[in-house]
């Protein structure tokens, strides 16, 4: 016993140390990765974000340097808080809150204390930074906008949030990411790849040189520039035309599907979302729940298309052999079914297809629609066939364009009507869905979808998926899906009478007032009823003013959809704006200055104020 006690203790100690070392070094070797090692500082070198150009090579957005004050909470030493807060121009309470937040996020990883200092603030602060251990200044590159338009197209960049960081380990707290528009859609193209430097620190947090002579370091790679399909001149002009109106304009080049202009109104100056005022401005835009400047109406707004939809009814009528161009239908100041009438305005009667389109006769299209549906043994089959034809124009689903927001719109299915009418206990007929004939009822389209089907008509039967990217400079490519033709379900020859009808609209029909000398436009007006809820009651508002058009009639260069909320009849606002846009794009100058003056000086603000006034109001005047 006396001989073994010490030996036993020595051996036990050996075992104990082996177990402890195994635990520390093999089993629980947690601080393993370089970024978690307290002796290694990870420094990022942020590349320049890619520029954006318009289709003609005009610079839209470039970069400016910006400086963020960062903190690594673990490294913070007691400091003269009052002096530091004075330099940062924040209160002590704000400072404490920021620091607490940073600590909660991670004691080891950098968090932003104060974003986006300008050069003057940076200069005065950088001299004193050495006093504040744990804090440092990170240089980043911020956007510098060369134009005051296209905010909805370009989108914006914003600091990443925790959800993004969790999903995508590339991003660190305080880094910027495209959050809307092209910035979001082409984030990986534009951002480039950040460079990483690993720096060996000593225990006083001083740099003592690159870790392992920098063999793990990487160089930043600059982001690629992109050329957009936007025509800056047209875009700017469109935004000016839309001042004091709500709605939007989409212009597409039918030959390619390139988006020439994408205007939503009201909009904002993109520069508002850069710099230290950013969050203040953003909050202001975000909480404007009436004008909704951050809401892209042409991509997100789902509206009843109204009369422009009739062109599609005519095309499907011909394709389904439900009607010929010669078939004429009488109009009794409307379309009578059962004991009800779907009203119409006064025009010659009866009308065949071209006249029907030119005069936008509701009765004519109700008849055609009824024939389409009733051609099939059941209304269910009829609706589904009609719907399939419409979907070939890119309706009722996402179009697949390269902007990160959008809506499907709505083309109702037979299931939908079965449900509404409680089929099979109750049967329903084509007449139950007759509003579809004139683009009211359940049919909803985004202005983008309207422009796209107009482009398909301009091409007489096909379209390219609309897109905003003209070229990724460097690889000089665009995604392949934007170079593939999508054919509609309607044959080419069926387009000619409809195109002729749309030409008649412009020559002597509902849009005769917007004629531009020397340009043969094909168009279709729309006046769509719409409703809102005030105090829980359904209240009708002034009709939406809608116009779709393409020009020139032969070899079209532009297809356009204009949507003006509560603008009353189609040619009043939308038609004029479309005419001006087409002339601007094709001629580069405006001859219809009377029309331009009307639009530029006109305002619908009074109209928009009505539902919020709390007073009774009248509409459509």
């Amino acid at each position: 016993m006396r001989k073994v006690v010490l030996i036993a203790l020595v051996l036990l100690t050996g075992l104990l140390f082996s177990a402890r070392l195994f635990y520390l070094q093999v089993y629980d070797a947690s601080p393993d990765s370089l970024s978690e090692n307290s002796a290694i500082k990870v420094m990022y070198d942020y590349p320049q974000r890619g520029y954006m150009f318009d289709r003609n090579g005009k610079l839209l957005v470039s970069n400016q340097p910006s400086y963020d004050v960062m903190v690594i909470p673990r490294d913070v030493k007691p400091l003269d808080t009052l002096e530091f807060c004075g330099l940062l121009k924040i209160t002590k309470e704000e400072f404490k809150e920021i620091l607490q937040k940073a600590r909660t996020y991670s004691p080891r990883l950098p968090s932003v204390v104060l974003p986006q200092l300008n050069k003057a603030d940076y200069a005065s602060l950088s001299e004193k930074m050495y006093k504040y251990e744990g804090f440092y200044i990170q240089r980043r590159s911020l956007r510098e906008y060369q134009v005051d338009h296209s905010a909805n197209v370009m989108g914006y960049i914003a600091e990443v949030n925790n959800a993004i960081i969790e999903k995508n380990p590339y991003y660190q707290m305080g880094e910027l990411i495209g959050t809307a528009g092209v910035e979001k859609e082409y984030e990986e193209v534009l951002r480039g790849i950040k460079g990483v430097k690993y720096i060996q620190k000593d225990r006083f947090n001083r740099d003592i040189g690159p870790y392992k002579e920098g063999i793990f370091d990487t160089l930043p790679q600059r982001g690629n520039d992109v050329q957009l399909t936007i025509d800056a001149t047209l875009q700017k002009y469109g935004e000016e035309l839309m001042i004091h109106k709500r709605g939007g304009i989409v212009a597409i080049e039918p030959d390619t599907g390139e988006i020439l202009a994408l205007i939503t109104a009201p909009s904002y100056d993109p520069s508002l979302l850069v710099g230290r005022e950013r969050s203040k401005n953003f909050t202001k835009l975000w909480y404007d729940t009436i004008g909704k400047p951050l809401y892209d109406r042409v991509l997100m707004g789902e509206y009843p298309p109204g009369s422009p939809f009739k062109t599609l009814i005519a095309l499907i009528g011909l394709q389904e052999n439900a009607v010929t161009t010669e078939d004429a239908f009488p109009c009794y100041r409307g379309f009578r079914y059962g004991n009800r009438t779907l009203g119409c305005h006064s025009h010659p009667s009866p009308l065949s297809m071209i006249g029907g389109i030119a005069n936008s006769c509701n009765a004519y299209f109700c008849n055609v629609y009824k024939r389409i549906i009733d051609k099939y043994p059941t209304p269910q089959d009829g609706i589904d066939a009609w719907r399939n034809d419409l979907m070939s124009f890119g309706l009722g689903d996402f179009l697949g364009y390269d902007l990160p927001s959008g809506k499907k719109g709505n083309i109702p299915t037979s299931d939908y009507y079965n449900k509404v009418h409680k089929f099979p206990e109750h049967r329903w007929s084509s007449l139950a869905t007759i509003s579809n004939a004139i683009g009211q009822g359940e049919v909803l389209l985004t202005p983008m979808q309207m422009a796209n089907f107009t482009a398909a008509i301009a091409n007489r039967g096909y379209y390219y998926t609309p897109h905003i990217i003209k070229n990724i400079i460097g690889p000089d490519t665009i995604p392949k899906k934007f170079t593939e033709k999508h054919f509609t379900a309607v044959d080419e020859e069926n387009f000619y009478p409809v195109v002729e009808g749309m030409h008649q609209v412009y020559q002597r029909g509902t849009a005769a007032s917007i004629q531009v000398p020397g340009i043969e436009i094909c168009g279709k007006t729309g006046t769509a009823e719409n409703f809102t809820k005030i105090g829980g009651k359904r209240v009708q508002l002034t009709d939406h003013s809608i116009f779709v058009a393409f020009a020139p009639m032969d070899n079209p260069k532009i297809a356009i959809a204009v949507f003006v909320e509560n603008g009353y009849w189609g040619s009043r606002w939308a038609g004029r704006i479309a005419g001006l846009m087409i002339e601007k794009y094709l001629k580069g100058e405006i001859t219809r200055t009377d029309m331009e003056k009307y639009v530029l000086e006109g305002s619908l603000e009074a109209e928009y104020a009505k539902p919020y006034s709390g007073q009774p109001f009248s509409i459509n005047h």
Partner: protein, 418 residues
């Protein structure tokens, strides 16, 4: 005799392990103390360069220690012991104070720490006392005699104050136990340590309550054997008195940095930037090593000097970071092998003097090994004592070298061939 030659057979295994440990120690000191100012391996301005000088002088010391007739150590043990005590007393007059402890003589820039040598001299004195034909360790008078031999240097060292180094004198309980000291003393020492630790962890009042409850339960269970109630009461009072005096000493005699060192290990302090910093950084460095380590001079924590005192007391953390589990295990196994070899050899000694001395060497090395690596790996309180043969420092290296090689000499003397 004149014609006869004396052959001495030294135990080459011990010498080999010694060389291996000293060499590996220097390799790690080099890495831990490497700086930009270094001008190659032989830069004697650098810490590793100085350690090279200390190692060189160790060889001189070894030759000297082995050359002396082995009987000399037994015969002059008392004299050597008294001279070494005088060197400790002398510190209070001529000593140099470093980091609050007056433990050093300054010889023109070279500091010598006598307490590193007194371990060996005390071992000699104890071996001589215990091996005396009249000494019997079962006899209370002799027990007190041995205690005085140990207590004199220990108290002088505590007064410096250097409680870490004084702690090492507890190691001598092992050779005494081996020579017949009652096992109760070993258990008593263990029980005292437990009382001591729980007093610091929970407070004297709770310990007193616990002791009373424990005694009550034991008394109740043994009531059929008619236990002596007076004995129980005395033991309980003794324990409570011990707990309160520990509490008093801790709060009133200890300095703040001593209190801190205990609080860390007891989990009372978790502030990684405060006093737990050393242990925490040391653990991080060791964890970084993984299976095979980061390679020589490649440790990030080592390079960044994150572990304070890394070339002295915390040298093992460099081994952990740069040589990994594999390297750490080699060091641990070398120590285990060396100590068990010494014990094995001690048992084979012909003289009781040799055996007691051998056991003392083993026990001292063991306690250093246990406390130091325990501290560096975070399972024992922070007590500033070096890792034998490994840590930087001339006094420590020479002290351990003399300690070990006197035993190598004594052991070798058993194999005299005439």
């Amino acid at each position: 005799m004149a014609a006869s030659k004396t052959y001495v057979r030294f135990d080459w295994l011990m010498i080999f392990i010694y060389i291996a440990l000293v060499f590996m120690g220097w390799i790690n000191i080099y890495s831990a103390s490497l700086s930009d100012a270094a001008k190659g391996f032989f830069d004697f301005d650098q810490i590793y360069g100085k350690q090279m000088i200390w190692i060189g002088l160790s060889i001189v010391i070894i030759i000297f220690v082995l050359a002396i007739e082995s009987k000399f150590y037994e015969r002059f043990a008392s004299v050597i012991y008294i001279i070494s005590l005088v060197s400790l007393v002398g510190l209070f007059i001529f000593g140099k104070t470093i980091a609050g402890s007056t433990s050093w003589y300054d010889f023109g820039g070279v500091s010598i720490q006598p307490s590193e040598f007194v371990k060996a001299t005390t071992a000699l004195a104890l071996a001589k006392y215990v091996s005396d034909i009249q000494t019997n360790m079962k006899d209370l008078k002799n027990q007190i005699g041995a205690l005085i031999i140990l207590a004199l240097p220990a108290i002088l060292i505590i007064l410096q104050p250097d409680p870490g180094s004084a702690l090492i004198y507890a190691a001598f309980v092992f050779p005494l136990y081996r020579e017949g000291l009652h096992g109760v003393y070993l258990l008593l020492a263990l029980f005292a340590v437990m009382l001591f630790v729980s007093t610091l962890a929970f407070g004297a009042v709770w310990v007193a309550i616990g002791v009373v409850i424990l005694a009550g339960v034991l008394f109740f269970r043994n009531r059929k054997k008619r236990p002596n109630i007076l004995k129980y009461v005395l033991i309980v009072i003794g324990c409570i008195a011990f707990a309160f005096s520990v509490s008093y000493i801790f709060n009133n005699v200890f300095k703040q940095h001593h209190r801190d060192r205990f609080n860390i290990v007891l989990g009372k302090e978790v502030d990684a930037r405060g006093i737990g910093y050393n242990t925490n950084q040391s653990e991080i460095a060791i964890s970084n090593g993984g299976w095979l380590g980061k390679g020589w001079t490649q440790g990030t924590q080592t390079k960044g000097n994150f572990v304070p005192e890394q070339h002295t007391d915390y040298i093992f953390s460099t081994v952990g970071e740069e040589w990994g589990f594999l390297g750490s295990m080699i060091v641990v196994l070398l120590f285990v092998a060396l100590i068990t070899r010494i014990i094995f050899k001690a048992e084979k000694q012909k003289s009781q003097f040799g055996r007691v001395y051998g056991y003392s060497v083993a026990a001292i090395l063991f306690l250093h090994f246990f406390v130091n690596i325990g501290m560096v790996t975070g399972i024992f309180p922070t007590v500033g004592i070096p890792l034998p043969f490994f840590s930087y420092g001339g006094s420590a290296l020479w002290g351990f070298t003399i300690l070990l090689f006197i035993f190598v000499k004594l052991d070798g003397a058993n194999y005299h061939y005439a």
